[in-house]
Each structure stands twice: as structure tokens, then as C-alpha cells.
């Protein structure tokens, strides 16, 4: 394999998906082409019903597009052999919105072990994986607890560990921060960025909070099933008209930067970091 070239983790070509087959107008995902490279931190944005979840479910073969093709590390999700399907699902780990609905066992370590058990991993390695996964999200000391008394952020970190234990190369999180308070959200974001940086895991984070993409390497905006923007988060923040037309809202700092820029001040409209904005304002005069 060639390591100096960025490897293609997920590639989607002209992918379309409609739920009601007889309803030709209602395409949940409409001819989307997207390719995600290994090591990227992609934030997928869009309002309710823009097709984010549908797109996400196509990334690990939970849904197979009616048109186009999704390829995960060389495997097409349309492949029907069990071996390929399960290889794809173990490669692209998926975390959902409500942590309570994705736990299958009453003890945290048992829940984390569920994926490796299904994959038939040998016992010694499984123990090692469970430890690594729980340590990666900072929940190892809770391993013998029940999830009921954990905070939302902790539960979601356990859900991430449960997927990590399958040793995925890509993590897809479908609004996994939506039900969390700001503290829980920050915890989860910190874990995700660390996994991306240190374990080299590609992250696809789905959200409708624009402030979650400030540190991402790439932002993709979906609007009515189509890709409306694909590029650096910075340039997205600078384009207020586009953001508004997709039904999103600029985070406060970017909004202030945009306002200042509109007033004719020499401020970078795409600034989303408070300190950076502060510095720019200080340099004005």
C-alpha cells in the first residue's frame, strides 16, 4: 500500500436515496459525491430533514443507495456477502444520538465488549480492546458500573468506546452531541479530537451546531439532500448568505466577525475563535 498519498476512507459517487420508492420527488439524498480521506475530521452540517442521517447510514451500509455507489476502503456497500458487509460495519463505526438506545448490557464493560464478541475476537485480545477503548474515552474506572447513573456526556463516551472496541478506522457520529449539555458536548468533542489526532481515526461528525466545526479540518453542508458547501470551516463562516440559506446559524464569534467586517472594519469574517478575533480587534485602529 502507498502511504505518502492520503488514502481514501469513504468515497461516494453520485449517491441518491429515496425512502418512498414511488415518490420520485422526495430524494432524501440527491446525487451526492463526497470522498473522505483517512485522517480527516469532517463535520457534516444541515438542518432537520436535510439528509444527514440518511447519508450517514449509507457510509456503513445500513442503507444502500438506489443510485450511485459507496466504497469503504475498497469495499462497495452494495456487496451482499456477509463478510464484506461486516467488514464495512467494523471499519466504519457508528454512534447514534441517544446513548440510552444503543447500550445492550447493564454493565459498561460488557456493553463495550459486545462488538468484539460479535466479531469473534479472541478473549485476550478482547480484554485488551475493552481496556483500550474505555481508556481512550476516559471511562475505564467506570467499567464495572451500570450506565444509569452516568451523565449524558459520560454515556455518550461509553457509546463511543463501544464502537471503538471494534477498532474502526472511521467514526461516524449522528448528532451524538445533540442531547448533551455544553459540558458533556465539550467532553465528547475533546475525546473525538484526541482520537483523530493520536489514533489517526477519521471522524465524521454530524451536527447542526456550527460551533462544533471550528476545529474540524473540513465542513460539508447538506441542503435538501444536496451538498451545498464542501471546504474549510473558515470559508463557510465567512459566507453568511450561504449559511443562512442552508438554515444554519453562525456561532456568536463568527457572527460578530461578520458584523464587524460588514461595517467596513478590517476583520477576517471567517474568524470563529474568540482570542483570534480579539487579537484582530486590538490590531485595528
Amino acid at each position: 500500500m502507498c502511504y505518502n498519498m492520503p488514502m481514501q476512507a469513504i468515497s461516494m459517487q453520485n449517491v441518491s436515496y429515496r425512502y418512498a420508492v414511488d415518490d420520485a420527488d422526495l430524494l432524501a439524498v440527491d446525487r451526492v459525491s463526497l470522498s473522505i480521506e483517512e485522517g480527516e475530521f469532517v463535520v457534516l452540517l444541515g438542518t432537520n430533514g436535510s439528509g444527514k442521517s440518511t447519508l450517514a447510514k449509507m457510509m456503513n451500509g445500513l442503507l444502500v443507495p438506489q443510485e450511485g455507489q459507496v466504497v469503504v476502503y475498497g469495499d462497495a456497500t452494495s456487496d451482499e456477502t456477509d463478510e464484506v458487509i461486516f467488514r464495512i460495519r467494523a471499519t466504519v463505526g457508528m454512534v447514534f444520538q441517544n446513548p440510552d438506545n444503543q447500550m445492550v448490557a447493564s454493565i459498561i464493560e460488557d456493553d463495550v465488549a459486545f462488538g468484539p464478541e460479535n466479531l469473534g475476537i479472541a478473549h485476550d485480545e478482547m480484554v485488551e480492546r475493552v481496556r483500550w477503548a474505555l481508556e481512550s474515552v476516559g471511562m475505564y474506572e467506570y467499567r464495572s458500573h451500570t450506565p444509569t447513573k452516568l451523565s449524558g456526556g459520560q454515556k455518550q463516551r461509553v457509546a463511543i468506546a463501544s464502537v471503538l472496541a471494534m477498532r474502526p478506522k472511521v467514526l461516524v457520529l449522528d448528532e451524538s452531541t445533540a442531547m448533551l449539555d455544553p459540558v458533556g458536548r465539550a467532553e465528547v468533542m475533546r475525546v473525538l479530537h484526541r482520537l483523530n489526532r493520536e489514533a489517526g481515526i477519521t471522524v465524521v461528525l454530524i451536527t447542526h451546531h456550527m460551533d462544533e466545526c471550528t476545529e474540524a479540518s473540513r465542513a460539508v453542508v447538506l441542503n435538501r439532500g444536496r451538498v451545498a458547501y464542501d471546504g474549510k470551516p473558515h470559508d463557510l463562516f465567512a459566507d453568511e448568505a450561504l449559511v443562512a440559506s442552508c438554515g444554519l446559524e453562525l456561532p456568536p464569534v463568527a457572527k460578530i466577525a461578520t458584523l464587524l467586517g460588514d461595517m467596513g472594519l478590517k476583520v477576517d469574517k471567517g474568524t470563529s475563535d474568540l482570542d483570534a478575533l480579539y487579537e484582530q480587534i486590538c490590531r485595528l485602529k
Binding site: M94, F96, V104, S106, D110, G115, P116, E117, H123, V163
Partner: protein, 281 residues
């Protein structure tokens, strides 16, 4: 770590707690079956002694154990009374209309009461010393032979595990819905029984709808975590049959021996009969 999912688990870290859950389940089943063959006071005393010693070894306070009897107290009382007055056994000491009391009927009632009490205490001891999770693991393992007749052992085990996992979540949700309905003026704990049952409808419907929605996401999560991926599924928890289990089996074996031999060799019941008879006369 007290939690609904632990049921009445009473953690003391004793040897009984550390036993292989499979051994405990098998012993509990044997205990239940055997008690129906016990028909002598020797047997019941041996049983009581067995329960008492296991309780001591398990370090479960006797009072905690006896709490589990509370539920059947009324039943025991009822059955005893019926047996005392209606059994029609032996020569009556006292008679009125169709009611009669004899030494035999008194002893018979006492045996029935003992049987029910001991029947409840054994499984109670099991749940005090074994978590529901260990129980599911044990049941899964014990059902393994059923795989040969294509029984979906693995699926049943996952269903049990998920059911257990969802109990606290659904209970929380029930509380929330009840509060919400109360906030809208529903009165859940007033009125007669029919009114109360009727008041439950607006609680059960959202609860069910919510449960189905959860089930949908759960199904996706199971698929996403490669459920059914490998026919050679491995286990994280390994159950091991150890010396403790051997001790448990031996202890139960001696109980069986006492029950069988005791009933044959000694006319203990005759002694008790004479004792009670001389006392009532």
C-alpha cells in the same frame, strides 16, 4: 452501587457470591425439585439447616433474607388455616360443622407452611448472591446444548440482556410521563380502581410509543455493532467451575443424603407426633 438492575443483589463478596452462576442456578433448580419429595420433618429441618448455613456463609443478614418471605406470608397463613381445619386427617380433637382439628392436620399444616417458606427462601438466596447479569450469562451457558436443535440461544441471551438493560430506562421514562400527565391535571392516585386503571392509559400509550422508537434505534445500533457477524461468537465473561462450586455441590449432596436417609432410618415424625399429641391433650 445500589441500582434497579441489580434487583435485590446483596454484595458481600463471599464465597457464595463468587460461585459459578451456572452451579448456583442448577443447585437452585435441584433445591426446588427436591423439596417436593420431602415429606418428613427431618427433611424440612435439613432444608432449613442448609438455607441457614448458606446464608451464614454468604454473609447475608438473616433479616434481609426473611424479608423475601413477606410476600408469601399471607399465602402461607391462608394455606395453613385451610389445612388445619379442612384436611380431615386423623382423629379430631375438635369438630364443628365441616371443620375439624386433629394432631395430624396441625402437623400437616406445619409441613405445608415449611415447604412454601423454604421454596421461597432458596431462590431468594440465589438472587441475593447473584446479579441478574450473571444469571443471564448462566442461563445462556446452560442453554447451549439447545443449539443442537437450532434453538436461538444467543438471541435469547441478547434479548434477556437488553430487557434487563432497558428496565431502569423505561422506569425513568414512566416517571417522566407520569409527572407530565400530572402537570396537565391528571389524577393518578385518586378515585376507585376503575378510574385509576383508566388514568393509566395516557401513561402506557406514550410509554409504548417511546419504547418502539427506542427499539428502532437499538436495532440500528445492533447492526452497526456487527450483531450476527460471526458464527464463532466469543464471550467476554468466562464462567469457570471452581472449587467453591464443588463445595456447594457437596453441601447440597449431603442435604439430599439427609433427606433420603433421614426419612428412611428415623421415625422422627413419629416422635414429633407424640410430642405434639401429649402437648395438646
Amino acid at each position: 452501587m445500589k441500582d434497579v438492575v441489580f434487583g435485590q443483589y446483596y454484595p458481600t463478596g463471599s464465597g457464595v457470591h463468587h460461585m459459578d452462576a451456572r452451579a448456583k442456578v442448577v443447585l437452585a433448580l435441584a433445591y426446588i425439585v427436591l423439596i417436593f419429595f420431602v415429606d418428613s420433618f427431618v427433611g424440612y429441618f435439613a432444608y432449613a439447616l442448609f438455607v441457614l448455613s448458606v446464608t451464614l456463609v454468604a454473609k447475608v443478614p438473616l433479616r434481609t433474607l426473611l424479608r423475601s418471605v413477606k410476600g408469601v406470608a399471607v399465602l402461607v397463613l391462608f394455606i395453613s388455616i385451610i389445612n388445619v381445619f379442612f384436611s380431615g386427617l386423623g382423629e379430631p380433637l375438635w369438630q364443628w360443622w365441616i371443620l375439624s382439628v386433629s394432631v395430624d392436620s396441625l402437623l400437616h399444616a406445619a409441613k405445608m407452611a415449611l415447604r412454601i417458606l423454604l421454596l421461597v427462601l432458596g431462590p431468594a438466596l440465589l438472587t441475593y448472591t447473584t446479579t441478574p447479569m450473571e444469571l443471564t450469562d448462566a442461563i445462556e451457558s446452560l442453554m447451549t446444548p439447545l443449539k443442537w436443535v437450532r434453538f436461538p440461544v444467543r438471541d435469547v441471551a441478547v434479548i434477556m440482556s437488553i430487557a434487563l438493560r432497558m428496565i431502569p430506562t423505561l422506569m425513568e421514562e414512566t416517571d417522566r410521563i407520569m409527572l407530565a400527565q400530572k402537570a396537565r391535571g391528571a389524577s393518578l392516585d385518586t378515585g376507585n380502581i376503575f378510574k385509576r386503571v383508566k388514568a393509566l392509559v395516557p401513561i402506557l400509550i406514550p410509554l409504548f410509543v417511546g419504547a418502539f422508537r427506542r427499539a428502532e434505534e437499538l436495532a440500528l445500533a445492533l447492526d452497526a455493532r456487527c450483531y450476527n457477524a460471526s458464527p464463532k461468537r466469543t464471550r467476554y465473561r468466562i464462567l469457570r467451575f471452581g472449587w467453591r462450586d464443588l463445595v456447594g455441590l457437596l453441601a447440597f449432596g449431603s442435604l439430599v443424603a439427609v433427606v433420603v436417609l433421614g426419612a428412611v432410618r428415623y421415625d422422627f415424625d413419629g416422635m414429633i407426633y407424640d410430642l405434639v399429641a401429649s402437648w395438646v391433650h
